[in-house]
Symmetry: C2
Subunit: 550 residues, 2 copies
């Protein structure tokens, strides 16, 4: 890492920590790794674990075999559902699965053998004033105490760019409360003086670049670029040229939102590394970005509490290691966590068993899911993009479908009804309790009847994903933990997701990821047009507008 080159030699591990790299080392247990390359465990620079649908105990089972040994998570979704307890849930899980820190003085061995989960404290709950969430408003006073937790790093993606630029006291108070800690950014397409002002506020990273020039400008403004390849937002192809030896210590990888099918079939950070190398990035550079660069950024590679560091292979660094059969293709032979083979670890089961139902809204028979007729604003969806287009079309135009968002926390809201294009000529309905960032119930469909069935079916199981055809539920995945996560095994969830995909395709949806795309249709911080429980959101103008076109 320090000289961005592979070095041939021996490697000694004791008490979970690398203790030597000098030649001729001997050990109680020796592993012959001739022909293999060993790199530091991969660090996901920004991830909403909720998007994996997996609780932390299950998430680590899914990603450790892929080489991801550290995840910097933002519990923004569960925080929107539950408030501070949603953040505390991840802090508690992090402490539970990772174990304690070493004490140099007392010579306590490292007992950290799980995923190293680090928590950035969610900064924007709710994301905007244009939606209703369950967790209420988390201000600086509510967030600051969370910093006392050993696994809490800093302030998660500051999505309220206008609030930063205008000096909104509620936003600035949060930045000040986290003074001296990393402040993550979220600035899609922000450029020029606005970007400079945003950087001036102390924001030091952003994972929302989708164009090379945009990412280059962020680097020039001192904002580290996390290259994201999620299940919907895929920026690797566009941004891979950014990653060179010169930029390698200011660039990292992240998954942001990645579903368990993609994790299982494509991979996790290994998939991004493989893709970057295929796009021409030197392997040494890719592995540096995947580990040391992010560890340094978050203060985990340098002096760290407990004398334990991550992100490199050198004495004093925790032995989170990936053993590669082939560095160029990121072909993983073994993964070590705290010096133990991941495959030999006795990973714990989820600590939660029966979470409370957070879908408290009633779904009456007569619920109104009909939007205005005539010329209307239509949200244009493109496969694999969370940015939407703005269209104006007749409400009964070709390929246009109804879209409704219903406040789910029992606060008495009525559905907001609008229109979407790009899901295909679906005949039936697709519904979800995962709807960034307030996670109200969102449903797309042809007829209100099927849409109502979808909503009622979700309410019944405390949230999840559902596909309805002809008034009947034809596929469903319950997500009882906050309407966001399952307690099932990763393989069970993956099987269920494949059934949901098949069911979506059967009713005419041609999007490869209908649920993830649906989940972003209510997110009012990503341009251009979105639908929240309060109505149609013009993100560019940052205000609600009428569904009827003028």
């Amino acid at each position: 890492m320090f000289s961005c080159a592979f070095v041939e030699g021996d490697l000694a591990i004791a008490d979970g920590v690398v203790v030597g790299t000098a030649p001729g080392l001997k050990g109680k247990r020796e592993i012959d790794a001739r022909g293999a390359h060993v790199v530091p465990g991969f660090i996901d620079a920004h991830v909403h674990l909720e998007s994996s649908l997996l609780v932390p105990e299950s998430f680590q089972r899914a990603v450790l075999p892929k080489g991801t040994t550290t995840a910097v998570c933002d519990p923004h979704e569960l925080a929107n559902v539950l408030g501070v307890p949603g953040i505390q849930f991840f802090l508690d899980a992090a402490a539970r699965i990772r174990g304690g820190l070493r004490d140099l003085r007392e010579r306590v061995p490292c007992d950290s053998h799980g995923l190293d989960l680090r928590v950035m404290v969610s900064s924007c709950v709710p994301a905007t004033e244009f939606e209703t969430n369950g967790g209420g408003t988390l201000d600086a006073a509510a967030l600051a105490p969370l910093l006392g937790h050993a696994q809490a790093l800093g302030l998660a993606e500051v999505m309220n760019v206008p609030g930063v630029l205008s000096g909104d006291p509620l936003v600035i108070d949060k930045l000040v409360a986290f003074d001296g800690r990393p402040l993550d950014g979220h600035a899609p397409l922000v450029t020029g003086r606005a970007l400079s002002a945003y950087a001036c506020a102390g924001i030091t990273s952003c994972h929302e670049s989708s164009e090379l020039g945009e990412a280059q400008e962020k680097l020039r403004n001192g904002i580290a670029v996390w290259i994201r390849e999620g299940s919907v937002a895929k920026d690797l192809d566009a941004l891979a040229p950014l990653l060179t030896l010169a930029t390698s210590t200011s660039v990292g990888f992240c998954t942001d939102d990645r579903n368990p099918l993609d994790i299982a079939h494509e991979g996790h950070l290994d998939f991004l590394i493989r893709g970057a190398i295929r796009k021409g990035v030197a392997p040494e550079v890719a592995y540096r970005a995947a580990s040391w660069s992010v560890a340094r950024h978050y203060g985990l590679a340098g002096p760290a509490r407990g004398g334990e560091r991550i992100g490199a292979i050198a004495p004093g660094f925790r032995a989170d290691l990936v053993v590669l059969d082939d560095a160029a293709t990121c072909a993983i032979r073994d993964v070590l966590v705290g010096g133990r083979f991941a495959g030999e670890l006795d990973l714990p089961s989820p600590a939660v068993s029966t979470p409370p139902n957070t879908v408290r809204a009633a779904i009456p028979e007569e619920v109104d899911l009909v939007g205005p007729a005539g010329m209307v604003h239509v949200i244009g969806v493109r496969a694999g993009r969370i940015l939407t287009d703005r269209q104006v079309a007749p409400s009964d135009g070709a390929g246009i479908r109804r879209l409704s968002v219903l406040e789910r926390y029992g606060k008495g809201g009525k559905p907001a009804n609008g229109y979407v294009h790009g899901f295909g000529e679906i005949d039936g309905a697709i519904g979800s309790s995962v709807g960034h960032d307030s996670h109200n119930l969102v449903v797309v469909g042809k007829e209100p009847r099927d849409m109502r069935v979808a909503l009622a079916s979700l309410a019944e199981v405390g949230g999840g994903f559902v596909v309805v055809q002809g008034g009947n539920v034809i596929a469903r995945l319950p997500l009882p933990l906050g309407g966001l996560m399952s307690l099932a095994e990763p393989a069970t969830i993956a099987r269920s997701l494949q059934e949901l995909r098949a069911a979506s395709a059967a009713i005419g949806c041609f999007l490869p990821e209908p649920f993830l795309q649906l989940a972003f249709l209510s997110l009012p911080v990503i341009p251009s047009l979105k639908l929240t429980d309060r109505g149609l959101m013009d993100v560019d103008a940052f205000r609600l507008i009428d569904v009827r076109a003028a």
Copy 2:
């Protein structure tokens, strides 16, 4: 810095901070810098300010014009003389000359227009048990409270390598007390498993590499390498090849001990940068190492208290800038500190006027400065090296001179007397109160009479440098602040040093830096043979030995 390349464009500064780099910026005061390159102010990664003989107020007058805008200092010398108040002296000076931090919320402008002096808390006072200092023993309990100061960064060079390796509780207690803060190293020629163990203890930098292979091994062990070019220890030629684009974020520059003549005539960090580029380092790489790399290492470039960062040219970074007429030769046109031209600053005068005399030892007429005769161990001095050779020779051999070290704090010690080779056939005596690290009186000479005159002359003025010939003082520079520093202007001191050099040459000394070399003859942590007030020190065996050869 972030992509290690020069970018053409405009640069806006407000309230002392860079606020924009977008094109087409306008300002109240505009500076046409066409044709110039602008780089971040240089950061000295490790410096004992005492070796400049200048108090901080004077030091900044000397180095700001050379582009050095931040110095990470270790007040190890004054701490050995005065104890904790010696460290507090530099912390107070740092707060005084730099001004306050910005508060993002209250929109207080930056009023930091002096040198940014950061203090690493001295870890090894006294350096060893084999010498007598004035400041006593500073243990973890004495040092930890100093960390509360805003300008205190971490623990300064941990010279007690054997103590670290053996797990000496007094040493480990200090490492634990500074857990989570940078721990500077000092590991000359330490290699293999010993180096790995030293790194395991959390040491993350070292400025004591003198050979390329040694420095490369340190990098591999996760220890950042500060390339040093002091007035005596000169490592730039050997280590310049280490500095490449690949290593540039783990390599920095430092001066360690540099006298005011060299600062005035050769330069400060600009001299190191110039030399590195001449040795083949790419200018962009050299400027990165001289600023951002060190700032990142010490946590000054990332999230920093007060939202103010240093080490790069980007929004939110303090406008500590060097404007270059020519990047390749480091030809400095202007230096800006907190957005103001250094030449326009109203720099303060030293705050101390009449310091107490710390040379409390009596120098009686009959003081015994005569070592044993016959075959003796002789310290071999080489010009420009602080490492010494071990020789065995007759005490009256060619080029061999008497060397005495006298405890100066009034604790009643008698002189330790030995022999040295390499000063030349001097006829007279050269004396100093600067004698690392305990700063007892050290004198080299031909005849005890001249040596006694030198000691008495030093005691009279509270310490300093002196040259004696034929029983008369022929040149002297008083250093009344702790026997280490002058309150005079840099130019006055430089003139006095030139007189001392001329006087040394006149009595036959052919070393270009006799006082700096003398100052390291009593430092028992640098191999191989040294003389402290307690006797002759075999550094390799780490024990006192008889001057008589067996």
